[in-house]
């Protein structure tokens, strides 16, 4: 694997290999005093974040450091981006400075794909850490890793409901592609205003009634309502949204006993998820963050720890 840009069209065997690596890494590091592996010694990983992020950036940084890579963080605020340098020139600069892998988050959909094209000759790997409303593949991988832990390794036939602001969510897009590739069945539950135009072509079922869907699902993934991407009225009020699509304690009771609650974070407690639900043992939200580090270590391993591919 040279880049990780999207989960759309991902080879299920490749996805499973990454998830298996992540699970083995987690086991290998469990209870160890020295949580550092020498695997990527001498390799340089640069994170380039043009959008705010806590968990993703920190998670990638820790993942790189635990694999002994040298990790350099570039943020749009403190770099030449502020002086007007283009994404392409910044990327070429970083590659020339010796980056083996560039991890990029950008508000424009498709930014990671463009970057991969510009860096083809440099031999630098690109990981998409979120591009606009397009994809966030490592988030989908860590969600799948968490589901495999809670529900068993084989996700074939497992039913996952993705609830809320699907329209603005790159997390939802990446999860739809990855989970269906792994054999799971995905239901999108959202008001019509928060579903993307082409949803009919997605390999999913669509519902507007959360109560009706909960009893038949093995997992519920709640999405953050992305106010920063909303310019207009998508729903009448946050109170009304919360009543129709928020996961409260009553709704938690509608889920089967074994079902898992996921949230990619940051959570808006009281909006899409009630505080008591977020803190319940059914919620795997801190597991998701923990697995995020192992999944990103696995991604770096699959990108950087093999011979050069001629592409």
């Amino acid at each position: 694997m040279r880049h990780l840009l999207s989960t759309e069209g991902i080879d299920p065997a490749q996805a499973t290999a990454i998830l298996d690596t992540a699970a083995n890494l987690k086991r290998a590091l469990l209870g160890r005093e020295v949580r550092k592996l020498p695997t990527l010694r001498g390799r340089t990983v640069i994170t380039m974040f043009y959008e705010n992020s806590t968990r993703t950036r920190v998670s990638f940084e820790i993942a790189g450091k635990w694999m002994s890579a040298d990790v350099v963080n570039v943020s749009a605020g403190g770099s030449s981006v502020g002086k007007g340098e283009s994404l392409r020139d910044t990327a070429l600069t970083l590659a020339a400075a010796g980056a083996d892998c560039v991890i990029v988050r950008h508000p424009a959909s498709g930014a990671a794909h463009r970057l991969a094209g510009w860096l083809r000759e440099a031999g630098t790997s690109v990981v998409n850490a979120g591009d606009g409303m397009h994809e966030h593949p490592t988030q989908a991988l860590l969600d799948a890793a968490t589901l495999r832990e809670r529900l068993g390794e084989d996700l074939t036939g497992r039913r996952v409901a993705i609830v809320g602001d699907v329209l603005h969510s790159r997390v939802a897009r990446s999860n739809v592609h990855l989970l269906t590739a792994l054999g799971a069945e995905v239901t999108l539950v959202a008001p019509p205003t928060l579903l993307p135009a082409g949803v009919a072509d997605w390999p999913v079922s669509v519902s507007h009634d959360l109560d009706a869907e909960l009893p038949s699902h093995d997992a519920v993934m709640l999405l953050r309502v992305q106010a920063e991407r909303m310019h207009g009225g998508f729903f009448p009020s946050s109170r009304e949204y919360s009543i129709a699509y928020g996961l409260n304690e009553r709704r938690l009771g509608l889920l089967p006993e074994h079902a898992v609650v996921l949230h990619p974070g940051p959570m808006l407690r009281g909006m899409e998820i009630a505080s008591a639900v977020a803190d319940s043992p059914r919620a795997a939200i801190t597991d998701q963050v923990r697995n995020g580090v192992h999944v990103r270590m696995a991604v770096l391993y699959h990108l950087l720890a093999h011979e050069e591919e001629s592409s």
Binding site: N24, R27, E33, P38, Y301, H302, A305, H306
Partner: protein, 190 residues
């Protein structure tokens, strides 16, 4: 399957070095040697841990532990140690899948660790295993047991317990076959 004559080359170009019976006897002899050398059944014996290196070192370690228990009455701890992340040749081939690592209860600190692998060749796997072990704790000492030593060392490493020394050409491939992976026991030269 018809028993094959030892040393004979079959049509697939394989030569059998050890039969299933030979493997069982060799493992038994190595178990005796481990008991003798570590004195693990003595009153002031060190705590011995057998760490199998996946894939085939893992079942070999379990078999050695079973024989040791049978011959000495001492149940030694068994674990597996995947060394993939410590290899120095990761960038010389396609992505290697990781295998499981499991440390026995109590870890490896202050214990006598016997690394167990199927074939000793360049010594690079053992070098990686020593590095991996260091990240898991500080054993009192480390020994090495291998079913086959085929020579061609590239590092100053030797085994404490060797099932069989096999002179080989570098181009040849020594394959240890185990019931758990291959459906039968044996050692063949390809």
């Amino acid at each position: 399957m018809a028993p094959r004559q030892r040393g004979a080359t079959d049509p697939a170009g394989e030569r059998e070095l050890l039969s299933a019976g030979d493997v069982a006897r060799t493992v038994a002899r190595m178990a005796h040697q481990i008991i003798e050398k570590t004195a693990l059944d003595a009153p002031s014996a060190p705590e011995v841990v057998l760490m199998g290196i996946p894939s085939r070192g893992a079942p070999l370690a379990r078999r050695l532990a079973a024989r040791i228990a049978e011959f000495s009455g001492v149940e030694v701890a068994v674990g597996t140690l995947d060394v993939t992340l410590y290899r120095d040749d990761l960038r010389r081939g396609p992505t290697r899948p990781l295998e499981a690592t499991s440390l026995p209860e109590g870890g490896v600190d202050d214990r006598l660790v016997v690394l167990v692998d199927d074939v000793l060749f360049s010594g690079r796997t053992v070098r990686a295993a020593l590095d991996a072990l260091r990240d898991h704790g500080r054993p009192r000492s480390v020994q090495l047991a291998v079913l086959v030593d085929r020579g061609h060392r590239e590092l100053p490493i030797r085994a404490d317990y060797v099932g069989k020394n096999v002179p080989t050409a570098r181009s040849e491939d020594v394959a240890v076959l185990l019931e758990e992976f291959d459906g039968r026991d044996g050692v063949v030269l390809r």
